[in-house]
C-alpha cells in the first residue's frame, strides 16, 4: 500500500506475453508487474488464464512471444529449474510433497546436505529445515512425517521449501481453497511476515473478500487478457466484478417457456458431508431445469456426488420423486430413475475400450435384460435408436467409444442415461470440451427432456450456458448455497457477486 514503493522500478515485469494452445489463446498480450515486498492479487473467472500465466512465470510453459524482466534484466525460463535459480517459487494447489518422508527431507529433497565423507548429514538437514520453519513461526517439527500433517501445515511446509531456495518471488495458487477460517488467518500472518522480509507475492484467488485483507494491488484477467490493475485501496467490489465478467454476451435463450410441473423430482434438505458441504437444501421439480453456479471448489460436484451416493453424506434428507432415499448409492438412484452425467467423461462416464452400443446399455442392464441374458439384437436396436435421435456421428455403434470426438462421447453418456428412462438427470459440466455445434445440440436436448417432464439439474462453470437454459439458479460458495435466483432474469455480474463472495449472503 505504500505509494512510495510504487514509484520504484518494478522487481518483476511481464510485457505483452502471449501463449497459445491448440484452439485457444490462453494468454493474449498480458502485461503485469510486481514490486519488492508487494502482495499482488490476480483474479479472474475459471479459464481466464491465471494458471497459464503462473506456469509461464515458473518455467513450466514457455511464452510464444513477449518478455519477462527481472530486476530490469530480461530473463528466459526454459524449465522450472531456471525459474528456481531466478528465485521464483510457486506453490500449487496440489502440493508436491512426498508424504512418507519427513518435513526436513521434503524441504531439501534432492539437495540434502552431505558431510565431508559423502554421507547424508542428517543433523544439518534437520537443523537447517527447523530454522526455516521457526522463522515462519509454524510450530512444525522438521522431523515429523509429512503425511501426519494437516493440509494447512503441509502448505506451510511448501512455503518453507520455497523459502529454502531463498526465493524472492512467491506465487501462490488459490492457497486458501482447502483451509478453514483459522488456518487462513495463520496463512495471512505468514504472508505479512514474508512481505516484511521483502518477499514479493503473487496471490491467485477466486475469493474477492480476501483481496481486501492482504492485497496491495489487484490485476483482473479475462479471456487471457489483463483487463485492469488497481490499487486495492481504490478498487470497489462492484468494479472488480464488472472487470471479471466484462460485457454481457447476449446469448439467445434456448428455453422458450418454463415447463415446470407441480410434482417434485429431487428434494434435498439440510445436507452435510464431512468435508465441504454445509446445510444444503435444494429442490428440482419435474419439467424444470435448475442450474447450480459456483466457482471451482465451491462444492457443486461434491453435492451431485453426494446426492447420487458416490460420496457419503454425514446427515441430511434426500428424496427422489417424493420418496426418501435413506442411503443413496448409484445403483439405488438408477432404480429410482435418476441419472448422473459426470464432469469427466473419460474417467467417470465411459468405458473407452468398449463398443458404443455396450456403453449405451451399461446403466440400464438390469432393466433391459431382467433375466440376466443380453439380447444382442435389442442392444443394437437401442444403440441405433439413440444414434439417430442424438445424432451420434459414427459409421457403426460396434466401434469403440475411444474413436469418437468429445461431443459425440458426451452424447453416448447421455444415451446411456436416456436408455434407463431416467426422470431426473444431473448434468455436471455437460458441454465442457465440446465444440460449439454439439454444445447447442446438447442444450436443445436438455430443453427437450424438460419439456417431456423430466427434472434436470445442471452444474456449469459456463454462466452464459446456465442463463440460456436454466429456469432457476442456485449459487454455491464454500460448500453452501448462498443464493437462489428464482427466475432467469439475472445477469452474470449478479451471479459472480455471490459466487466470489462479493455480497454477504
Amino acid at each position: 500500500m505504500e505509494n512510495t514503493e510504487k514509484a520504484v522500478e518494478p522487481f518483476l515485469k511481464v510485457q505483452n506475453v502471449c501463449k497459445e494452445f491448440p484452439g485457444v489463446k490462453a494468454l493474449d498480450n498480458v502485461s503485469f508487474d510486481l514490486c519488492k515486498g508487494e502482495v499482488h492479487v490476480l483474479i479472474g473467472e475459471n479459464g481466464a488464464g491465471k494458471s497459464t500465466l503462473m506456469k509461464v512465470l515458473s518455467g513450466v510453459y514457455q511464452q510464444d512471444s513477449g518478455e519477462i524482466y527481472l530486476n530490469g534484466k530480461k530473463v528466459e525460463f526454459q524449465n522450472t529449474r531456471d525459474a528456481q535459480l531466478a528465485r521464483i517459487a510457486i506453490i500449487f494447489q496440489e502440493f508436491n510433497l512426498v508424504p512418507n518422508l519427513t518435513v526436513a527431507q521434503n524441504i531439501f529433497l534432492g539437495r540434502e546436505p552431505v558431510s565431508s565423507r559423502g554421507v547424508l548429514d542428517r543433523k544439518k538437514l534437520n537443523a537447517d529445515a527447523q530454522a526455516i520453519l521457526d522463522s515462519l513461526n509454524t510450530g512444525i517439527s522438521a522431523t515429523d512425517k509429512v503425511e501426519l500433517l494437516g493440509v494447512a501445515h503441509q502448505q506451510l511446509v511448501e512455503l518453507a521449501k520455497a523459502l529454502s531456495f531463498d526465493s524472492e518471488i512467491l506465487i501462490m495458487d488459490e492457497p486458501t481453497a482447502t483451509l478453514s477460517e483459522n488456518e487462513i488467518n495463520t496463512l495471512f500472518d505468514t504472508i505479512f511476515r514474508l512481505k516484511a522480509r521483502g518477499v514479493s507475492i503473487i496471490y491467485i484467488s477466486h475469493r474477492l473478500h480476501e483481496v481486501y485483507k492482504i492485497g496491495d494491488r489487484i490485476t483482473v484477467l479475462r479471456d487471457g487478457q489483463t483487463v485492469g490493475t488497481r490499487l486495492v485501496s481504490e478498487a470497489s467490489m462492484d468494479e472488480l466484478i464488472r472487470l471479471m465478467v466484462g460485457r454481457e454476451i447476449q446469448r439467445e435463450r434456448i428455453r422458450e417457456e418454463n415447463t415446470v410441473q407441480e410434482s417434485m423430482a429431487l428434494e434435498v434438505r439440510g445436507l452435510w458431508d464431512r468435508k465441504l458441504l454445509q446445510d444444503i437444501s435444494i429442490n428440482v421439480r419435474r419439467g424444470e431445469i435448475v442450474g447450480i453456479a459456483g466457482l471451482v471448489g465451491s462444492g457443486r460436484t461434491e453435492l451431485a456426488q453426494t446426492i447420487f451416493g458416490i460420496k457419503r453424506r454425514s446427515k441430511g434428507y434426500i428424496a427422489l420423486f417424493g420418496r426418501e432415499l435413506e442411503k443413496s448409492s448409484p445403483g439405488k438412484c438408477v432404480m429410482r430413475k435418476a441419472g448422473f452425467l459426470p464432469e469427466n467423461r473419460k474417467e467417470q462416464g465411459l468405458s473407452l475400450n468398449l463398443p458404443i452400443r455396450t456403453n449405451i446399455v451399461h446403466a440400464a442392464l438390469s432393466m433391459l435384460f431382467p433375466m440376466g441374458i443380453v439380447r444382442r439384437k435389442k442392444e443394437k436396436d437401442i444403440a441405433e435408436n439413440y444414434r439417430k435421435r442424438l445424432r451420434i456421428i459414427t459409421p457403426d455403434t460396434k466401434r469403440n467409444v475411444s474413436n469418437l470426438s468429445g461431443g459425440n462421447q458426451q452424447k453416448v453418456v447421455l444415451a446411456k442415461w436416456l436408455a434407463t428412462e431416467s426422470d431426473f438427470l444431473i448434468f455436471d459440466e455437460p458441454t465442457r470440451g465440446v465444440d460449439v455445434g454439439a454444445k447447442e445440440e446438447i442444450h436443445f436436448l436438455i430443453d427437450d427432456l424438460a419439456r417431456n417432464g423430466k427434472g434436470i439439474l445442471v452444474i456449469s462453470s459456463d454462466l452464459p450456458e446456465l442463463l440460456t437454459i436454466a429456469d432457476r439458479i442456485y449459487v454455491m460458495r464454500e460448500g453452501r448455497i448462498v443464493k437462489e435466483f428464482k427466475d432467469s432474469h439475472v445477469t452474470q455480474e449478479e451471479i459472480i457477486a455471490f459466487a466470489a463472495g462479493g455480497v454477504v449472503a
Partner: protein, 319 residues
Amino acid sequence: MKKYWGLLKPRLDTLSRLTALAIIFLSLVIVSPSFASAANIINVLRITSLTLMMAIGVALCMLVGGIDLSIGATIALTSILFGKFFQVGQSTASMIMGITGMLAVSILIGLVNGFCIVFLHLPPFLATFGVQQIVRGLAYLLTSGLVYSNFTEDFRFIGGGQLFGIPMPIIIAVILLLIISFTLNKTTFGYRVYAVGSNRESARYSGIPVNKTLITTYVLSSLIAGIAGIVYTSRLNAAEPTIGAEFAQTAIAAAAIGGISFRGGNGNVLGVVIGALILTLVSNGMTLLGVDSNWQVGISGVVIILSVLVDRNASVRKT
C-alpha cells in the same frame, strides 16, 4: 477400406494370435514326424485342457483388473479334502460327498479372496498371494505328510476316462469354456465384468454393483480351480499337498499370451484357448525335439515376454 478398419482392428489381435499358433503348429509338423500322430495330438489337447481350465478362471480375474494366484493351492487343498472324505467310506457316496466338499471349499476360498480385495482394499496380487499361502499351509496341516491314493474306478473316470474316444478332461474343459464364453458375451454379469475391468469409476457411476461383480469373479475363478482340482486329482489318482505349485504361473502365462490385458477390460475366451495351446505346443515341441528340460523352462519365459511385447505394441498403435 478405411471405413471397415475400426471394426477390423479389434479382431486383428485374435487373428495375429491364430496365425502365430498356426505357424508353431505347422513348423512342429514339419520338424518332428512324431508330432502329428493322433496319440500326440490327443496328448497335447489333454494337457492343454487342464491349463485352459485354470487359465479361464484367472482370465476372469484379469478381466476385472485383478489376478488370482491362489488357484494352485486351492487345487491342492481341495484335493486333500477329497482324499479325507474318500477315506471315510471309500464308496460312491463318499466320492460324491468329497466332490461336493471340494466345490464348497473352493467357493469359500474365492469369497475370502473377494473379501480381502473388496473390503480390506488389498491389491489383488497381494491378497491372493497371501490366501495362497494360507490355503497351502492348511493343505499341509490336514495331511501331516500323507498322500491319499487308490480312488475308486468311477472317480478315476473323470480325469482318466474317455467318452466317444475323447479324454474326459478335454470334454470338461470344452463345456466349461462354452459356459464361461456364454457368460461373458451374453449375460448382464459378463457385461458388468467388462465394464468394471474397463473403467471401474464409470461402472460405479452407471450403478453397476462393482463389489458384487468383483467378488463373484473371484468366486468363479476359485470354483473353476475346484473343478480343475477334481479332474487333476482323478487323473493323478492321488492327493498330496504339494501339487499345483506352478499352476497359477502357467494359467497367467496362457492368459497373457492369449491377450488378456493385465489392466482389465480387454481380451476374450478364444484368446485364452489360443494362449493355452501355444504354451502347450511350445513345451511339447521342445520335448519332441529333445530340447534339454533345463532349457525348456527358460524358453517358455521368453515366449511369454515376446507375446506380451507384441501385444502391447499392437495396442499402442491402436490408441
